[in-house]
Subunit: 489 residues, 2 copies
C-alpha cells in the first residue's frame, strides 16, 4: 500500500471508537521511548508504549552502547579524568558542526552529570575501568573510552581531552556478555515496566489524529492489517528512529549513504518524521550522517591512510567514526591503508586488535615505488606522501595532520596497502526540529500542540559531525524531556 492514503492527519471527530487510551502515548520502545515513558510515568501520567516489533530494544539494544556524557561524571572522576560542561561544550561545538543547535549542545552539556546519575539510578551499570587503546568499543567490560577523537588532532588542541564514551556493561555469568546497548535498555525497560508503563507490541503507527484546533490527540496504527486507534490525553511522543531504511528519503536527503549498508535496524523507515511533516513539522540537518569505517583501528593508527590520489587526509589515530566521515564526505569514499610489515605485525600482535574488521592486504610490495605502481597511482604520488611523512616521523612528529607521537614511525621495508573503499556504513542523524522540551516545532517556529519527539527521528546534537554516543545520548536525554513535557501538557 502506498503512503498516500496513510500519512495525512485524521480528525478526531471521525474516530468512531478508541481502542486504547493513555495520558501519554509513546511510539517506539527504543532508547528515547523508554526514557520518555519512565519520566512521564514518574510525573504521574498513565503511559502506553506502541512498539512495532515484538519486544523492547529498538536500534539501541543492537548498538555498542556508548552514551556520550561528560562535564565531570562520577565515572570520569573516579577514573581520574577532569572535565567540565564548558570543556565538553567547546569540544562538541567543534566536532559536531557546522550548523549545530547551540542551545541544545549547551543544555545537554550542563545536564550531563545529572543524566549520568539518573541512568545509574535506573540500574544502568558502568564499570569503573578505562580503555585507552584505539578501537571502536572497549574489548571487555570497561565503562569509559574516547569515542569522538577528543584526544586526537585537531580536537586535542581545541579542548582539554576527556573520554566521554560511557558504556553500560558488565560481565554476567547468567546471560553472558551482551552489547552495551542491551545493557542500557534492559534496566530501563525494567524500570519502565515497574512503574506500570503498558506496552502494545506489533503496532506500527500510520497517521496522527488531531482535534479541530490542530492539537495532536491520538495516533492511528496498524496491527497485522487491522487499524487501531489510540487516544493520548496529554501528548504523543514520537521515538521511532531514523530514516536509514527509507530509500526515497535517503536519496533525497542523505544520498552519500546510497548503496551502503545501513548501520541501523530496518524498522528505521522515517515514519515518525513523515507523520509529523504531514502536520507542518519543520526539519533540520537531513543530510547529516554517522559513517562507520570498518577497519582495524590498531592497524590504521600504525599506518597511513591515503585517498585516491595517494594523499593523507586525517590523523590516523582518531576515532574510526571520524575516519569514515572524512573518507566518505571529503575523499569521495576513496581510502587506502598503507602500512609497513613491522607495523602490521605489531598491530596484529596486540590483544586489542579488531580481527573481524581485518582483511588480507590488497597489494604488497618491497618498495613504495612498486606499491604506488601496483595501486595504479602516478609516479611520485604515494612516494611524495611517504617521503613527507617519513621525514618528520624520523623526529617522532606528524606536523601535517598531528597524529600523536606514540603512533608515528617511519614506514620502512616491505609494505602493504589495503583497499578500504566500500568499508563504510552509516545511519542518518537528521529529523524533526525540536526545542529543549522536545516539543516538535512547526515550520512557523511554534510548537505543534500535543506532539513531542526524541531520538533519531529528531535532529539532536549533530550537524556535520558525529561522536559515538551522541545518538543514545541525546535520545535518552531528550526522551526524558519529552516524557516530562508530555505528562505536564
Amino acid at each position: 500500500m502506498s503512503d498516500a492514503s496513510t500519512l495525512r492527519p485524521v480528525r478526531a471527530s471521525t474516530i468512531a471508537q478508541w481502542d486504547h487510551q493513555a495520558d501519554v502515548v509513546v511510539a517506539g520502545y527504543g532508547i528515547a521511548g523508554v526514557c520518555a515513558a519512565i519520566e512521564a510515568a514518574r510525573a504521574g501520567a498513565e503511559v502506553l508504549i506502541l512498539e512495532r516489533t515484538g519486544g523492547w530494544g529498538g536500534a539501541a539494544a543492537m548498538a555498542g552502547g556508548f552514551i556520550y556524557l561528560g562535564g565531570g561524571t562520577p565515572l570520569q572522576r573516579a577514573l581520574g579524568f577532569e572535565d567540565t560542561p564548558e570543556n565538553m561544550e567547546t569540544f562538541l561545538l567543534a566536532a559536531l558542526g557546522p550548523g549545530v543547535d547551540k542551545a541544545k549542545i549547551a543544555d545537554y552539556c550542563r545536564g550531563s552529570v545529572e543524566h549520568y546519575n539518573w541512568l545509574v539510578s535506573c540500574g544502568v551499570p558502568f564499570r569503573e575501568a578505562f580503555w585507552g587503546e584505539p578501537g571502536w568499543e572497549p574489548p571487555h567490560d570497561e565503562g569509559l573510552m574516547y569515542s569522538g577523537g577528543e584526544n586526537a588532532a585537531p580536537f586535542n588542541a581545541i579542548a582539554k581531552p576527556a573520554p566521554r564514551g560511557h558504556v553500560p556493561q558488565f560481565a554476567d555469568k547468567k546471560i553472558g556478555r551482551k552489547s552495551g546497548g542491551y545493557m542500557l535498555m534492559k534496566p530501563l525497560a525494567e524500570t519502565a515496566e515497574s512503574l506500570g508503563v503498558r506496552v502494545e507490541y506489533d503496532l506500527r503507527i500510520t497517521r496522527l489524529v488531531v482535534d479541530d484546533d490542530e492539537r495532536v490527540v491520538g495516533v492511528l496504527a496498524r496491527r497485522y492489517g487491522t487499524e487501531v486507534a489510540i487516544r493520548a490525553e496529554r501528548g504523543i511522543v514520537l521515538a521511532t528512529g531514523s530514516f536509514a531504511y527509507h530509500q526515497q528519503m535517503i536519496e533525497g536527503y542523505a544520498p552519500r549513504l546510497i548503496g551502503r549498508p545501513a548501520a541501523a535496524i530496518e524498522e528505521h523507515d522515517g515514519i515518525g518524521i513523515r507523520v509529523a511533516q504531514a502536520l507542518g513539522a519543520d526539519l533540520a540537518h537531513m543530510d547529516a550522517t554517522e559513517v562507520a569505517f570498518f577497519g582495524d583501528p590498531q592497524l590504521m593508527a600504525r599506518g597511513i591512510l591515503v585517498n585516491g590520489r595517494g594523499q593523507r587526509f586525517i590523523a590516523e589515530d582518531t576515532y574510526p567514526g571520524r575516519i569514515g566521515q572524512a573518507a566518505l564526505i571529503q575523499q569521495e569514499n576513496q581510502a587506502f591503508l598503507v602500512i609497513d610489515e613491522a607495523s602490521y605485525e605489531a598491530g596484529l600482535a596486540t590483544e586489542t586488535a579488531t580481527p573481524f574488521f581485518r582483511q588480507p592486504p590488497t597489494w604488497a610490495a618491497e618498495t613504495v615505488a612498486e606499491l604506488e605502481h601496483d595501486m595504479g597511482l602516478p609516479t611520485l604520488a604515494l612516494q611524495a606522501t611517504v617521503d613527507c611523512y617519513n621525514l618528520h616521523a624520523g623526529d617522532g612528529i606528524d606536523p601535517l595532520l598531528g597524529k600523536k607521537p606514540e603512533w608515528v614511525r617511519p614506514l620502512r621495508g616491505p609494505l602493504a596497502a589495503f583497499d578500504m573503499r566500500g568499508c563504510t556504513a552509516g545511519f542518518t542523524l537528521g529529523g524533526l526540529r525540536t526545542d529543549l522540551d522536545s516539543r516538535v516545532l512547526h515550520v512557523s517556529g511554534a510548537p505543534i500542540a500535543g506532539l513531542f519527539a526524541a531520538g533519531r527521528c529528531t535532529s539532536g546534537l549533530c550537524a556535520g559531525g558525529y561522536v559515538s554516543g551522541a545518538s543514545l545520548g541525546d535520545g535518552s536525554f531528550y526522551g526524558r524531556r519529552a516524557g516530562i513535557a508530555a505528562a505536564k501538557n
Copy 2:
C-alpha cells in the same frame, strides 16, 4: 512579527472578501514565474503574478544568465558541437549527483531542444558565437560556453564534451550591455505582458488558503502591512526563489554557507518552501548548494590549487563553480593557488582574464621550499606536491587529476601563492519536491491539489553537484510545466 502567526494555511471559508482573483496565481516574477505565466496564459487561463518587489526580474535578472541546454540545440549545431539528449543525460547524472532525480534529468534532457526553441520564440537572443577560454562567463556577447566542466577531467572521459551554457545577450546600443539574466528576463516579461498577464507588485505572500478538502484555492499576502487575499480558481504556482537569506534554514539545512555571502537576492527567504511545508509538502536535497569561487580562472588553470595540507585536489582547468564546491565541501574551505611568475604574467596578459577576481599574491618566494615555509606548511608538504606535478608536467600530462595538456607546464623559478580562503559564496539548491508536471508533492507522495512550484524554491536537477545554468534552466523549464498544469487543473 514572528512567522508563527503567518505560515499556517487558512480555510477559505474564513475569507470575507477576495481582493484579487485569477485562474492561475503565480507567486514570484523571476524566471520560473514568468515562464509559468506565459504558458498558463497561452493555455487560456487568466493569470495574475504576485511580486514582492517593485518590478520583474528576481534573482534571474541579476544573474550571469547561463541557461543549461543541450542535446543538439540549434546554437550548439550552428557552432559545430555535437550533442544528444543521452549524452547530456550521461554528463548530468555524473556531475549533479549523487541522489539526483533521475526522471527529472531524463525529462529535462529530452525536452531541452524544444525549450531552447521556445525561449527563442519568446524573443530571447542567443548570438552564434562560442567562447572557449576558462572563465565564469563570456566576456563579450558570445552565446555559448562550457559552464560545468564538461571538457575537463573527470567528465571529459565520461561523456562527449559539449558546451551547454547558453547565454542570452547581445550588444544593444540603446540600453548598453546588460547581464545575460536581464536579457533573458526582458523578452519573457514582455511576452507575458503581451499575453495579458496581470501583475501586482509589492505583495509578499504569507499563507496559503485551502478549502475543506485541503485543496489550495488562494493565498494571503501583505502589502505595506495590509493583508490582501487572492483567489486562484485553478491553481497557485510558487516561484519565490531559494532560502539563501533565511538564516535558520541555512543553519539547519545548508550550514556550509554560514558566514558566506549569498550569491542570491535578499528576497530569497524561503517563504514558498515554508508555506508549502505547512501543508505537509515534502522536501529534497536541502543541503545542496551552488558555490561560486572568486578566483581568476585564467590564473587558476595555469597554476595549481592546493588545500590546507599543500595537496592538489581538482583539475584546475575545470569550471570555477566546481572548484568552489570541491574547496568548500571536500577541503574544508582551504584553498591556495600556487603559480610561477611566468605563468602569472601569461595569465595577466590574456585579454580574457577576470581582473575583478584578482588579488595581490599573499606570499612570493624564490623557491618552493621557501614558499612552503612562508605558508606555514610542513617541510616537503608543498614540495612533494610540486615535485609530482612537475615530473609529469615535463611530459605535458597530469595523471593525478587530468588537467588538459594545454594548461600543464612545470612550475619553475620565482613563484607566488594566493590565499583563496573566504573566496566562496553560494546559494541553495534544495526545496520542495515536485513531479514532472511541477505539482508539489505531499510527504505521502501524492500531489497537493492546486499547488505547483518551480525554480529555486523546488529541488530541481541538482543534488550534490552544480553546473552554471542549471537554475535558470530548470526554473524556466519546470516553470512552463507549472503554468501548463495549473491552467489545465
